[in-house]
């Protein structure tokens, strides 16, 4: 349970505050509502490259990192398909350092050719390290365009290829900043041991002077329903074969999300779950297996699969996996098993709200989804899922025409 207050400034910046009386630390988190789904098709990877440039210093803070480090703080950022997130934790006496730095780079980012050139190289090395020079590193680079033919979720946050990043120009960087980095396209949260009024005043005193931009909203092309099953097979020099089955499902705020997440937990949350017990322990078809949902804002994916055991035919492993999903469509889950995954969800919520950074991040995330009350309401939604919901949703999601199979085979 996270206690919070919400306020929208006149320039459109949404502010969320959380008071934590047990800490001497403070946290800020900012979400800009721009991710890799907003990129041009020939400039994939741009949102993430831009995240790197946000650390290049700003009008009144030539270095972003130095003041934070002097203030005993720590900061980082990440970009995903839907949004870009910047976070800072520091001792509570230094909270204004964080607010000042974030406000200054929201309106006066220092963009220049030198930092662009260096960050392009850094991002290309990140591309190499995490995606190309690692076994299975390109799995998502191949999987995404296979299942998304129209929606920009078809490319990964890192981009389609290092060349897209290498070709980015300074003009494009300026245009991107002008369009997306504005108070009315952002959400900030602040957490620490302060009065609520004090927190709103501190934020407004730094951010209130920034003018809004009201950039046009981009209408994203939506993925049409899949009409036939499809299969992609690739071979690579890897030590073990993998097989995945993938299904389109609803978006983050749809009922699908909660039901599909419950189904994925029944299948693979904990060692007592169905897939681990049947696929790994009893049949020995997989050495590790997982089922999960991507959790994107727009309609996302349900994915099940893993590493196939040596000497097992990947097609046989796939059939066994599909049999487990078939059971979800035909056999009612009993109350005990459903309570188990709901209990586990309750623990996970509590474990996930231990420190102030987690809480600050959660607040921004649910505000971005458009319903901040969900930050404390997810457990009720999960507890409300019934066995009938599971059968109905499984039948629709695991339908043959909604099935994609991805074989990533050992050469």
């Amino acid at each position: 349970m996270i206690d919070y207050r919400r306020k929208v400034l006149s320039n459109g910046l949404t502010v969320l505050a959380h008071r934590d009386k047990a800490t001497r630390m403070a946290a800020t988190n900012i979400i800009y509502k721009v991710g890799s789904r907003d990129e041009e098709p020939d400039r994939t990877g741009f949102a993430h490259l831009f995240e790197h440039l946000m650390f290049a210093g700003s009008r009144n803070a030539p270095s972003f990192d130095d003041p934070i480090q002097m203030a005993a703080g720590e900061n980082n950022a990440f970009t995903n398909n839907d949004y870009t997130d910047f976070y800072i934790t520091l001792p509570q006496d230094n909270i204004d350092i964080a607010l000042w730095l974030e406000a200054d780079r929201m309106c006066g980012l220092n963009i220049n050719e030198d930092s662009l050139e260096v960050q392009k190289k850094v991002v290309v090395e990140e591309f190499n390290e995490r995606y190309l020079n690692r076994p299975y590193g390109n799995l998502w680079l191949r999987l995404r365009p296979f299942v998304y033919k129209v929606h920009p979720y078809g490319h990964s946050t890192i981009g389609l290829s290092p060349d897209h990043v290498k070709n980015a120009t300074l003009e494009e960087v300026h245009a991107f900043y002008d369009r997306y980095y504005a108070p009315d396209n952002a959400i900030i949260s602040i957490a620490g041991n302060y009065d609520y009024e004090q927190m709103f005043d501190m934020v407004e005193s730094r951010f209130g002077q920034i003018t809004k931009k009201s950039g046009e909203k981009r209408i994203l092309p939506q993925e049409p329903p899949q009409t036939a099953p499809q299969t992609l097979t690739i071979e690579a020099d890897v030590p073990a074969s993998m097989v995945y089955v993938i299904f389109h499902m609803g978006g983050r705020t749809s009922d699908d999300f909660v039901v599909c997440d419950t189904i994925s937990d029944l299948l693979s949350c904990g060692n007592s779950s169905r897939l681990y017990q049947s696929m790994v322990k009893h049949k020995g078809l997989f050495t590790s297996v997982d089922a999960y949902i991507t959790g994107d804002i727009d309609p996302g994916l349900f994915i099940a699969g893993g590493y196939v055991s040596p000497d097992v035919d990947p097609q046989k492993a796939r059939r066994a996996l599909m049999d487990e999903l078939e059971k979800m469509c035909t056999q009612r889950v009993d109350a005990y098993e459903l309570t188990k995954v709901q209990n586990k969800f309750e623990s996970n919520i509590l474990f996930g709200e231990v420190n102030i950074m987690d809480k600050a991040m959660n607040l921004c995330f649910y505000e971005m989804l458009g319903d901040i009350s969900l930050v404390n309401g997810e457990l009720d939604r999960y507890r409300a899922v019934t066995p009938d919901d599971i059968i109905e949703t499984s039948r629709r999601i695991f339908a043959e025409n909604n099935t994609s199979t991805f074989y990533y085979l050992k050469k």
């Binding site: 047990a22 001497r24 630390m25 803070a61 990192d65 130095d66 003041p67 480090q69 002097m70 203030a71 005993a72 703080g73 720590e74 934790t89 001792p91 204004d96 350092i97 000042w100 406000a103 200054d104 050139e117 260096v118 392009k120 190289k121 850094v122 090395e125 990140e126 190499n128 390290e129 995490r130 190309l132 020079n133 690692r134 299975y136 730094r206 209130g208 002077q209 030590p239 073990a240 949350c269 904990g270 060692n271 007592s272 017990q277 322990k281 020995g284 050495t287 590790s288 055991s309 040596p310 309570t339 188990k340 209990n343 309750e346 623990s347 509590l350 474990f351 709200e353 231990v354 420190n355």
Partner: protein, 422 residues
């Protein structure tokens, strides 16, 4: 609303101290030690049981990790599946970890499920089965994981680094082929469990919202362990080589490790050396990050850190660089080390590092679980949480001369091993 102009930066408050929460120590009726750290923010309890049962004590490869890894894979009363069911139904977090010196069992639960959690703990400590069938599943899973892991250049470089600074037969340097899983037997595990999982060879740390009566109930679970001997075996001197390489001709990047054997955490220069290494590569504004990432763009990341085992310690510099810049990167790293040895560090830079290090400690200590991890480390190093204050004081008192002294003493080029994979 009166705005604060953005061209007017706030002043910085450098924290002068770190809040240290100590632990209280209890002795159970059977003589086991239970250390408690109470905090009441959340209705959660975490229990960690630590054994001197790390891989240095094993006679056959993978025995130590398999023993702790299989504790919950079947007991005299319940099958592995039933135990998993118990954990999952009550939402109990269960994890085991292993390093060269210690194994740790950690459980975390909602207060209302403490009794169920202790039933589980009692069972896995007193009657684990280590059956043939479960070992076969475990071994094939682990063997494949390891095979996959070892195709990564960073994993190759890490293993090669330990081997190169300690020696391939040294307990801190050794790594074994995946095929050693084929000859691992349940007898290895049963013997290892009997020799090392006992009251005298363990301690327990409990943190969270510890309600009245909890300590007695937790003690009763720990006391189901048998009595035995504290593990003790002398460790050989390290035997290092200066250079090692694994070729991977098609690799886009090389993984680099550079470093040396140093000393354990109780050495008088341990903290000063930590400060020197932090300056070199311990934070985002460090010299190595500025040079290799922010200036040259050779890498996505580089880090230098010190660490320790129970009877040794080390320096490691780790990065993954584009293959055509491997040589240049090594030269730059040596040149940054040379700078540290030759010129006094500017006060402003040293102040920043001190703030970063103290801030890091404040973050780790903010919350009951972080304090638990720090306490475990301190107990392993034969000290208590007052050690944290000493560390903070040493950091604050470090001078540019101290940095130059330790850099000259411990960072001789000839003493530094270079390892490359890729």
């Amino acid at each position: 609303m009166k705005y604060k102009p953005l061209d007017c930066p706030p002043s910085v408050n450098i924290p002068s101290s770190v809040d240290v929460i100590g632990f209280t120590t209890h002795h159970t009726p059977a003589g086991a030690t239970v250390h408690c750290i109470k905090s009441s923010e959340l209705d959660l309890v975490r229990i960690s049981v630590v054994f001197r049962a790390g891989s240095r004590y094993q006679h056959h490869p993978f025995t130590a990790s398999a023993t702790v890894g299989m504790l919950a894979e079947g007991t005299a009363s319940h099958t592995s599946e039933e135990l998993s069911e118990m954990l999952d139904y009550y939402g109990i977090y269960y994890n085991t970890s292993i390093d060269r010196d210690y194994s740790i069992i950690t459980l975390c639960c909602l207060n209302k499920f403490l009794d169920k959690t202790l039933d589980f703990l009692t069972e896995i400590l007193s009657e684990p089965l280590f059956s043939e069938k479960e070992l076969a599943v475990y071994a094939s899973k682990r063997k494949q994981n390891l095979t996959v892991e070892r195709t990564r250049v960073d994993v190759m470089a890490t293993e090669l680094f330990w081997k190169s600074i300690y020696g391939e037969n040294h307990p801190y340097g050794k790594s074994s082929p995946e095929t050693a899983y084929d000859t691992l037997t349940t007898d290895h595990l049963k013997r290892f469990f009997a020799d090392h999982y006992n009251i005298e060879n363990s301690f327990t740390v409990v943190s969270g919202n510890i309600e009245p009566g909890f300590v007695d109930r937790i003690s009763a679970a720990i006391d189901t362990l048998p009595h035995g001997q504290k593990a003790d075996c002398p460790i050989d001197k390290p035997c290092s080589v200066s250079y090692a390489k694994i070729d991977k001709p098609d690799a886009l990047q090389s993984s680099l490790r550079m470093g040396r054997v140093l000393f354990d955490a109780n050495h008088p220069d341990y903290v000063t050396m930590q400060v020197a290494v932090a300056l070199l590569g311990g934070y985002f504004g460090s010299r190595l990050v500025r040079n290799l990432r922010e200036d040259k763009g050779y890498t996505y990341g580089i880090v230098a850190r010190t660490g320790c085992f129970e009877e040794s310690g080390y320096l490691v510099i780790a990065t993954q660089v584009s293959s055509q810049h491997t040589r240049a990167s090594i030269d730059e790293i040596f040149s940054e080390i040379e700078q540290l040895r030759t010129y006094p560090v500017p006060d402003s830079e040293l102040d920043m590092v001190k703030s970063v290090m103290i801030g890091e400690m404040m973050r780790v200590l903010d919350g009951p679980f972080g304090i638990c991890d720090v306490s475990i480390e301190n107990i392993q190093n034969n000290t208590d949480n007052l050690r944290i204050e000493q560390i903070v004081n040493t950091i604050k008192q470090t001078t540019p001369d101290d940095i130059m002294r330790v850099a000259r003493q411990y960072l001789n080029r000839d003493d530094i091993t270079v390892v490359i994979a890729g």
